[in-house]
């Protein structure tokens, strides 16, 4: 009797909270803290990392500009059902990603997504990058520059190719804000002062950064035939 009652009660609770989560960053912030997310992620900018040791001491990626980096639809879904983004375990080169990221129940996922989307960076100019099939960007990503050496992407016939040390960019166009991709390539130190990815500022022209950003932002699931 009792478990049924609590189950019924919690369903009612879930339904009411789920329907009342129209953008409530404050509730999301509370849930973020209550669930211990802050043990592994910091949410106050600017970037804190100064040395390799600082970067390696982190237990999860920084989230202080999450609202500029991610797409909201993706974020809400991922928090409720996280799938590995990095092929390798965070900050470890010798172990696979265990795929054990904490999960949030639907209502919490929505409010935490609202909270994270409220964390933005002024260094991401909006409306610059239009995702587009881009042969020049493809050329840079696969041939001219080593991007594909460290990042997975869906190549011909949807075959996953590429390296494994960087976050997978398969379907990156669904996950990442196209404008953030460009801002990160142009000005990487603002977001990630110490990282395993080389700085390309000054090595790729502004035009080529735009081409490769548009190309990556266009990585989306192919429609099933």
């Amino acid at each position: 009797m009792k478990p049924i009652l609590t189950a019924a009660l919690s369903t009612v609770f879930l339904v009411t909270t789920a329907s009342s989560v129209l953008a409530d960053p404050a509730a999301g912030k509370a849930a973020f803290e209550a669930k211990g997310c802050g043990d592994c992620h910091y949410t106050a900018g600017p970037a804190k990392e100064k040395t390799i040791d600082d970067q390696l001491a982190k237990k999860g990626p920084e989230l202080w500009y999450a609202g500029s980096k991610f797409q909201k639809d993706w974020l809400g879904k991922w928090l409720a059902d996280p799938k590995p983004i990095r092929p390798m375990k965070f900050n470890v080169l010798t172990e696979e990603n265990p795929g054990d990221h904490p999960k949030l129940a639907g209502a919490d996922a929505a409010s935490v997504a609202d909270f994270l989307m409220s964390l933005t960076s002024t260094d991401v100019p909006a409306g610059k990058v239009k995702p587009k099939k881009n042969p020049k960007g493809r050329q840079i990503f696969i041939k001219k520059m080593p991007c594909s050496g460290c990042h997975q992407y869906a190549g011909r016939k949807n075959k996953i190719s590429g390296g494994r040390s960087g976050p997978s960019l398969v379907d990156a166009g669904v996950r990442l804000n196209p404008d953030w991709i460009l801002a990160y390539l142009k000005n990487p130190k603002v977001f990630k002062p110490v990282k395993m990815m080389p700085v390309f500022t000054g090595l790729l022209s502004d035009k080529d950064m735009m081409n490769v950003a548009r190309y990556v932002a266009n990585f989306k699931p192919k429609k099933k035939k």
Binding site: I52, D53, L93, P146, G162, S165, P198
Partner: protein, 122 residues
């Protein structure tokens, strides 16, 4: 008087330490952070990026025969400007905008420790 001399000596030593090039431990950290993803933690060319799709094998730094073909200046060029600068694969990235001069010099010494070789002279 004697004390003063000791203080002077200690001060000189301290300033020398401060100017010393990046130490071996620090360099190993730099290598493991940036280079091991392709070249492997022990430099054998077997980092996690090297799957069967990887188009070229990253140099095995423990191969003294191959590494002896390269001078320290060759190493510096390829580390700073990437594979294409020495007619090698673009899969070897340019690190000139990422690493400072001391870090690059430290890495060259580290590669010579890994290959147990001196490299092409002159």
């Amino acid at each position: 008087m004697k004390n003063l001399m000791i203080i002077a000596a200690v001060a000189a030593l301290a300033s020398q330490l401060a100017m010393a090039p990046v130490g071996a431990a620090e360099t190993e950290k730099v290598f493991k952070f940036y280079c091991a993803q392709c070249h492997g933690l022990t430099g054998k060319g077997d980092g996690p990026n090297v799957t069967k799709d990887f188009p070229v094998s990253p140099r095995n730094f423990t191969n003294a025969k191959e590494m002896n073909k390269l001078s320290d200046a060759d190493l510096k060029n390829v580390i700073m400007d990437g594979g294409p600068s020495v007619s090698k694969s673009p899969m070897m990235p340019p690190w000139g905008k990422t690493l400072n001069a001391e870090e690059v010099d430290g890495l060259i010494k580290h590669l010579r420790v890994l290959c147990k070789c001196k490299g092409k002279q002159g």
